[in-house]
Amino acid sequence: MLSKENIALYAFQKYGDTALQAAFCCIGNRADAEDVAQEVFFSLHREPRDFNDDEHLKAWLLRCVINRCKNLHKSIWRRMRVNMDDVPTAALTVHDSSEREVLNLITSLPQPYSEVVYLHDYEGYTIREIANMLDRPENTVSSQLRRGHQKLRMELSEEG
């Protein structure tokens, strides 16, 4: 059992960037992503709970981030979308312009593809694990992943 005195601080130190990356890929907006990600940790701080292990904690955090992103998508209230070129360099470790280009494409990927592609391609979860985490049939996750990849490939070939 993972039981820490300050579970939220532990979670942030271990998975803070993970939560931010997940939120960014789902929302496509740096400012909203920061809000969503940090609010997940603040809520855990307000209402701490125990986890089986690190993997359980990480999956729980990702689930919370994605749910919050979905709620934000339901809402018409958004901040203006920030192009990656406008994000301060200090907030990014991006090596070349093609990486920025890819990031811009990722942010343009609509839900539900964005979250599935992120969980599969970045976090390395299997389709079955994603299906459990998002409470969707495996076939649905599979087709969403396929379409997400197709969309990214199409956009990239159109771009350049």
Binding site: L9, H45, H56, N67, I76, V94, H95, M133
Partner: protein, 580 residues
Amino acid sequence: MRMDKNRYRDAVSGIRWTDAQRGKIEEKLRQPAEKPSGAAFEDEDFETYEPPMTTEERRRMEEEMAKQERKLRRMGRMGWAVAAALLIVIGGGVTAAVIHTKKLQQESLHSPESKLGLHLTDQKDSASQGLFARSENGYYILYSGYEYNMGTYTIRNEEGELTEVDAISQTGGRGYPTFYDPETGESAILCARPNCTHDGSTYCTATTKAYSSYYRSDRFPMVYADGYLYTVSTKHSKWTETDYGYEQADPKEDHAVLLRYEPDGSGITELHDFGTGTGGFRPTMHRGYLWFAVQTMSYGETVQNPISGADEAFVNGGYEIWGYELKTGNLVKIYDSESKPDINHVDTAPQYLAGIGDYIYFNTEDGDWASPTGTNRINLLTGEMTQAPDVSLENGFNDNYGLYYDSNMKDYSSSGSWMLVNLETGEAKPLANTQHSTEFAGMPFLSGDYIYWCQFDQGDITTLRIYDLNAETLLDQDVKEFHLPEYPSEWGDVLQVHASLAEVSDGRVYLYRTADLINDKKGIWWSLDRSVYSCAVEELIAGNPEWTKEFELMDSEEAGKKYNELISYAEEHNISSFSQ
């Protein structure tokens, strides 16, 4: 470039907290936890996530469920009693939650702290359309009649030569801000100057061209608050009186000013000169402040347009949102769109602001690439601005909902739906049976607990629909069936009597009733009567409206005399039609 998993991972791994952000968050997490805030988006998103069960865990759970099922079966009818008791408990919980939510909303309205330094009260603007302002004594409305002038005019004939002809010309009426007293039936143009003919000179306080808000707005440009009328106007410092009227001032010299009037139009006071730009916007009263926009402009070098030959100035501008505290007279700027000095472009200021709860809402309609269109709202407590991109909240709000038209631009068709949006959460749902169609034009608007939608036929309403906030249709009726009082015509040949929706406020619907004479031979219409009637919306929905005449916008007898005079002049001078 080829997209693959590695490229994706490389790009995403660059998204990280900055050291400064990380430090701030960790510091906050080291502090004792704050109590739950009750903010939006907290109810459902923290559902418990458990990792997938192992086979052993699933077997144990299924055994437990089977045991429970057997137990319930044994309980028989008793089980239903338990279930009913549970329902009562749950129902009580729901009621308590609703009450708690209401309490939270009320508390939020009283929240005294604002990072913008505002001192917010509970004061609200009751007007929904803003077509008139109401004081304790009556109504203020902008009466824009038409004027017909008889005389000799110089025109260019078919050969291109200048020639003089007898004619009757029609000009758009000036907007006379006029006060109507429903008790006495009397009306007065809002000018307190003695012997004034309201001819548009700078002497007249109602039609003066020193300030020009009246000529730009289709809403009544003033708001009545705490015994005064307020407006945001454009001050022209260079109006020049000539033989043929007033020459346009140099717009570079225009200033936006916040004006205050006494209720009779006297005592005009410039509360603030913004030093630049234009006004012409109706302030919105909310939480003890008047909120308004000011268009800012700055002019650069004047160059000749090589195509038109006209001199054109390089101009750019933006807008600012201001609040004027009624109690203290303090001004606070809460938003600045920050004009872009390198672009020859002006971001148009929003014509209409709406205050709801802790927010000021406004639309940006025609921004360029740097200023996307949509609905914006500024949080008066935090100063934060959020935006609903490509959404234009229209025509009225209540404390919880707004309306916007979701045009289906993706397939480039004109189809779309009116959406009812929860302003707190941003969740939107289409209004039932409001699919846009050509025969049902116009825009719905929301006031209080109802949505109103009018069908127009050549500018006049023929049908009025009323919906509740569940989008159920409560009324769908031809206005002819509203049984407005008969027009007592002594002229005999009134050809058209029609009605249009003027305003909905405080649970009453206000209709304009117009009676027009139409002279086919001379191609004119002539209004003999414009009156405003009101009835309670509940009565209208129930089908038994009792109409009250609020005020008359014109003197029918005078209007009739003028009509006869014009027709006689046209016949004497063989004028076949009135020119405009």
